[in-house]
């Protein structure tokens, strides 16, 4: 069975600085997707970024980028130029890409990010 681990329950960053959130996962599959979701105090789950395992290039979305290390099974999220609106809980998630998969997500425990003005 696949597992996802976020070992940092809480992180803090100064506004305008850069922060990296860690995520490791375990799987025997070779093809899968990895995601970072943001959950602000409103509780809405918002997709931040998505990475396909077969792509070696790290995904980037504006100030958000990932460091995907497939061999190490590591998928960290870097937030550059942190803004007060980035304060939220961040979840790392895994999804199989095998033919016939049901699309269900396996989540890590979450990391709460505090942004200090």
């Amino acid at each position: 069975a696949q597992t996802v681990t976020q070992s940092q329950p809480e992180m803090s960053v100064q506004e305008a600085e850069t922060v990296t959130l860690s995520c490791t996962y375990d799987t025997s599959e070779s093809d899968y997707y990895l995601f970072w979701y943001k959950q602000p105090p409103s509780r809405q789950m918002i997709l931040v970024i998505r990475q396909e395992a077969y792509k070696q290039q790290n995904a980037t979305e504006n100030r958000f980028s990932v460091n995907f290390q497939k061999a190490a099974k590591s998928f960290s999220l870097k937030i550059s130029d942190s803004q007060l609106g980035d304060a939220a809980m961040y979840f790392c998630a895994y999804r199989s890409a095998l033919l016939g998969n049901t699309g269900k997500l396996i989540f890590g425990q979450g990391t709460t990010l505090q942004v200090k003005p």
Binding site: V4, Q6, Y33, F35, Y37, S42, R43, Q44, M45, L47, R50, E52, F91, A93, R95, A97, T102, G103, K104, L105, I106, F107, G108, Q109, G110
Partner: protein, 112 residues
């Protein structure tokens, strides 16, 4: 708006009472999911559906049942609520394939 709503948004109930949470999507997507969110656990899958009347269990399905009589609606039922089912419940949907999964706004359920 990800084309998905949940009702109610908040509910307080007593131990032993039945509770039904509703999820409604407008995207005609095949796959729908119910997750629960608890501190220290992230989101965990309760049940999912891959079509009308087609459902299967997730990792934390004990004490829950689901039904899907129409593509757009996916119901989660707690037959006899317990305090351990106090949680935030999220519904999600996806069209399958490489589609991203989109989440509803969540329902906070408190069982006293």
């Amino acid at each position: 708006d990800a084309g998905i709503t949940q009702s109610p948004r908040h509910k307080v109930t007593e131990t032993g009472t039945p509770v039904t949470l509703r999820c409604h999507q407008t995207e005609n997507h095949r796959y729908m999911y119910w997750y629960r969110q608890d501190p220290g656990h992230g989101l965990r899958l309760i049940h999912y559906s891959y079509g009308v009347k087609d459902t299967d269990k997730g990792e934390v399905s004990d004490g829950y049942s689901v039904s899907r009589s129409k593509t757009e609606d996916f119901l989660l039922t707690l037959e006899s609520a317990t305090s351990s089912q106090t949680s935030v419940y999220f519904c999600a949907h996806t069209g399958g394939g490489t589609d991203t999964q989109y989440f509803g706004p969540g329902t906070r359920l408190t069982v006293l």
